[in-house]
């Protein structure tokens, strides 16, 4: 198990390193780093100062060294717009995105797994077919379009919920969060549903397909032959088996949830780091873009690592074969 963890950790570090090289090449080698990293409105003196600081006048490999050194110290340049370190600006926005992604995750798993299992146990019932139909719709509609429909229905036509913004926030574990106040919660619901719908459809389909497959297995029949209650068969024997693929997909999709938060945050004007990215793109605030990218890579690689560890804990067969191999 420890060997597996170490090897898996090494892979993660390698992924981050590879992405760092790509980002470096994209910014320094292909483009003109002076254009990318120095504010177009800077004076000659400022340009000279930054050039010296980033070592832009030195050979490429030295520049890479400086880039890595700075990145390891959390320095990915200053925002043109705010004049502050880009990393700080993004970290300010991180809690909003995390809150959104986290609530969306809970929604998509909390609803997706039970609905999927239900549809899998009774694939031909009306409820089963309705759940599947709904998930196909959730699958087909682009994310931003779903968000717009939600706004149109619940904010414009019905007027029940606000169309955008974050609402009132309170301090929770050192972060500003919305979900503890009524106003904040009302702002959170629509974006969270929007971000959750696509993943939920995915999880429903996956849970349903796996439930159907597991139900055919002899061990389910054997569990029933042992006289177990239907509830125990479903909640222990079936659920534990389908959680393996579900956790895998949740892990893979958690990263894309952070990415898709860009869309949801833009539609709902949710002040997270995704909205910041789009604003920065529009304002050509490139240091923030680069910092966003590096930070997101870090987050996604970390998530993938954690998921693999959970995965090996869930499936007793994984850890063992890896240890032998």
């Amino acid at each position: 198990m420890i060997v597996y963890l170490i090897r898996r950790f090494g892979q993660s570090v390698l992924s981050i390193a590879a992405m760092a090289v790509l980002v470096f090449l994209g910014v320094y080698a292909i483009g003109n780093p002076i254009d990318v990293l120095i504010n177009p409105e800077a004076t000659q003196a400022e340009i000279a100062a930054t050039t010296a600081r980033l070592g832009l006048d030195r050979p490429l490999y030295e520049q890479f060294g400086i880039f890595v050194w700075n990145a390891l110290h959390g320095d990915l340049g200053n925002s043109f717009v705010y004049g502050r370190p880009a990393v700080d600006i993004i970290l300010d926005r991180l809690p909003a995105t995390m809150e959104l992604a986290f609530v969306a995750l809970i929604l998509s798993v909390g609803l997706g797994v039970p609905l999927g299992v239900w549809a899998g146990l009774r694939p031909d019932s009306i409820a089963g077919r309705t759940i599947m139909g709904g998930s196909i719709l959730g699958f087909s509609l682009p994310n931003f379009w779903q968000g717009m429909l939600l706004i149109l229905i619940f904010a414009v036509l019905l007027g029940w919920l606000p169309a955008g913004g974050r609402g009132e926030t309170t301090e929770f574990l050192g972060m500003r969060v919305s979900f503890l106040t009524l106003d904040g919660l009302s702002h959170l619901i629509l974006p969270a549903i929007n971000l959750a719908l696509f993943k939920m459809s995915l999880i429903i389909r996956l849970a349903r397909a796996n439930t159907r497959e597991v139900c055919l297995q002899d061990y389910v029949k054997f569990a029933r032959a042992k006289g177990l209650s239907g509830r125990r068969v479903v909640l222990v024997h079936i659920l534990k088996n389908i959680m393996i693929p579900v956790v895998t997909i949740i892990g893979l999709e958690l990263g894309s949830m952070v990415a898709f938060a860009i869309v949801t945050e833009t539609v709902f004007a949710w002040p997270g780091m995704g909205k910041l990215l789009i604003d920065s793109i529009n304002l050509l605030d490139r240091p923030v873009i680069v910092a966003y990218l590096m930070l997101t890579v870090l987050i996604i690689v970390t998530i993938n690592f954690v998921v693999d560890v959970i995965y090996s804990l869930l499936d007793p067969r994984i850890g063992l074969s890896e240890m032998k191999g």
Binding site: P142, M148, L152, F260, I300
Partner: protein
């Protein structure tokens, strides 16, 4: 009791004439047995025809400023033009542009971007995938490392960052879509080619001193086609949705060549003020397109992949 014994008894119904159809024919027949998929196919063909012939059938050229009148701006569906008297069945945008025409042209751009990027991504992915499978060893593991690395990051993130650095443009969107999609095809082609690679006849072909290229593309490739089609049906819908999303976010196609996604984005500002049609109708067109492709794709997957057809 054994199978060998079955040979010497006639089948109970006498000899049955077995019609041997070509694979394409059999595929078409199996596909057609699902009415929903046929509806999807008809819808998709209709949408594709509209996109191709948009300049011929659209009521106006929505990007010829001479045909637009600011007087017609923001008309509701069904209202008529103050100047020409033409009816705007789906209303107009704030510049007086007929939404029917705008949607037709938007479809054209959306499908063009998706189709070109699909073609390029399949070509590149196939060449790389077959190469990896055929040569194996270090080349294979190097290529697959890159594929895995790329697939571990969400496509939308990669495309968004690329376009943020490259700027807007139809060509740049296509480039971004190709970059995020080739890896899926490469992986698919490699995995089916590697199964085929292990079979004896490839060794036989090698011992005949056929050229590597000939073996790769005449012998390995045909076996990769069915899984390739399956992946393509998923990816084309994804490509259309991704392009729309990128354009909606303002990093996709330029405002001079608006796709459906950009039309939706343009109308989004007016959604809250009640002028829903500027945004909603292009959205419906987009959704219909994606659903049509998904319906066709689901059926294609079932037919080509009997294992999943339960």
């Amino acid at each position: 009791m054994t199978d060998a014994a079955t040979d010497d008894i006639p089948a109970p119904d006498g000899p049955v004439a077995v019609k041997i159809d070509s694979p394409a024919k059999r595929f078409a027949r199996e596909f057609a047995s699902d009415p929903i998929a046929v509806v999807g196919l008809i819808l998709f063909v209709l949408i594709a025809l509209i996109a191709i012939f948009a300049p011929l059938i659209a009521p106006q050229d929505p990007y010829d400023l001479a045909q637009l009148s600011i007087m017609d701006g923001g008309l509701q569906p069904g209202e008529s033009s103050f100047g020409t008297g033409m009816t705007f069945w789906l209303g107009t945008d704030t510049q007086g542009r007929d939404m029917v025409s705008a949607i037709m042209y938007g479809l054209r751009i959306s499908l063009f971007v998706a189709a070109v990027s699909l073609g390029l991504a399949i070509t590149i992915g196939t060449v790389i995938g077959v190469t990896a499978a055929y040569f194996g060893g270090k080349i294979d593991s190097f290529i697959m490392r890159i594929v895995d690395l790329q697939l571990s990051f969400p496509a939308i993130l990669i495309a968004l960052i690329l376009l943020a650095l490259l700027g807007r443009g139809v060509d740049k969107v296509i480039l971004a879509l190709v970059i995020v999609q080739w890896a899926y095809y490469a992986r698919t082609v490699r995995s089916s080619a590697i199964v085929e690679r292990r079979k004896d006849y490839i060794d036989a072909a090698r011992s005949l001193a056929l050229s590597d290229r000939r073996i790769m593309f005449r012998h390995l490739l045909p076996n990769c086609v069915p899984p390739l089609i399956v992946v393509a049906t998923v990816q084309i819908a994804q490509a259309i949705a991704l392009e729309a999303t990128l354009s909606f976010l303002g990093v996709g196609v330029p405002i001079t060549e608006p796709s459906l996604g950009l039309l939706i984005a343009n109308g989004y500002d007016y959604l809250l003020s009640g002028r829903y049609w500027i945004s909603i109708f292009p959205g419906i067109a987009l959704v219909l397109t994606i659903i049509a492709i998904n319906l066709v794709g689901d059926r294609v997957r079932d037919v080509l992949n009997p294992r999943l057809d339960t």
